[in-house]
């Protein structure tokens, strides 16, 4: 009887050990996979970089001027490279007036056109 219990106990422990070993190998495979991917040249560069804007840099670098030009070429109205149409407009509160030409030679200007709806 004792021998039978002992044999059953060994079988039970064997199953537990098998499960533990399986989990161990799965974890090891995941860790190895992560290590291999992180050591790929493009990712190694990201890991090593000290620039907090690395992600932004990567995103912006992909939007090069040729993309912008292509979009501009397909547009209606003024295109990249053309002189921006001149204007002189008042502020919404009528307190000041802005002339586009006043920025020339000094600072770039971002013009955002829109309405409420």
């Amino acid at each position: 009887m004792e021998l039978a219990e002992f044999a059953a106990s060994i079988n039970e422990h064997g199953a537990v050990m098998k499960t533990i070993m399986t989990l161990f190998f799965i974890c090891a495979a995941v860790v190895c996979g992560f290590f291999v991917v992180s050591m790929m040249p493009q990712n190694r560069e990201k890991l090593n970089t000290k620039n907090p804007n690395a992600e932004q840099l990567d995103r912006l670098a992909r939007r090069d001027s040729s993309d912008r030009s292509q979009r501009s070429r397909n547009n209606t109205g003024p295109k990249v490279g053309e002189i921006a149409p001149p204007f002189k407009l008042k502020s919404f509160d009528n307190q000041s007036e802005t002339e586009l030409a006043s920025f020339r030679g000094k600072i770039p200007v971002v013009l955002i056109f829109g309405s409420y709806t």
Partner: protein, 153 residues
């Protein structure tokens, strides 16, 4: 974007005629909620612009297009559009108009500003585009010159 780059570029929002006013052909729900009609005069246009600025807590300096929509037409900006104007007066970016173009336009403008801020140099205009623009300007100048000489003779 405004907060990130206002130290290297001027920003101006140009409030133009409403895209989806209640009395337009394609009224928008927000227009009904806010009672926004097509502007009949400059005061109405300024009042709606102020409502937008207050509701959205906008801090970008806002200009109002004239009632003949001159700037809107010159830039083909309706319903919304974004441009970057270089210090030489030429366009550095020119997005497509409309919501889809606007989203891309924001990204283009941000990429332009990012490059400018980090390098200190304005991104170059691709040669072929600059050449096309200069040719167009020369043609316009020549046309104007011939019209002037016709008038004088």
């Amino acid at each position: 974007m405004y907060q990130a780059y206002k130290d290297v570029a001027e920003f101006r929002m140009i409030y133009i005629k409403e895209a989806h006013a209640i009395d337009s052909t394609a009224p928008h729900e927000s227009a009904r909620e806010k009672g926004i009609l097509n502007h009949k005069n400059k005061e109405q246009r300024c009042a709606t612009a102020k409502m937008l600025i207050d509701d959205e807590s906008l801090t970008i300096p806002t200009l109002i297009d004239s009632m003949n929509d001159a700037v809107n037409h010159a830039y083909r900006a309706h319903p919304d559009r974004i441009f970057v104007v270089r210090t030489d007066g030429r366009l550095g970016t020119a997005a497509m108009p409309g919501p889809a173009g606007f989203e891309e336009g924001i990204k283009d403008a941000e990429a332009w500003l990012f490059e400018f801020k980090n390098s200190g140099v304005e991104p170059e205009i691709p040669g072929e585009l600059l050449e096309a623009a200069v040719t167009k300007e020369k043609e316009a100048a020549s046309k104007q010159e011939s019209e002037t000489s016709k008038k004088n003779s």
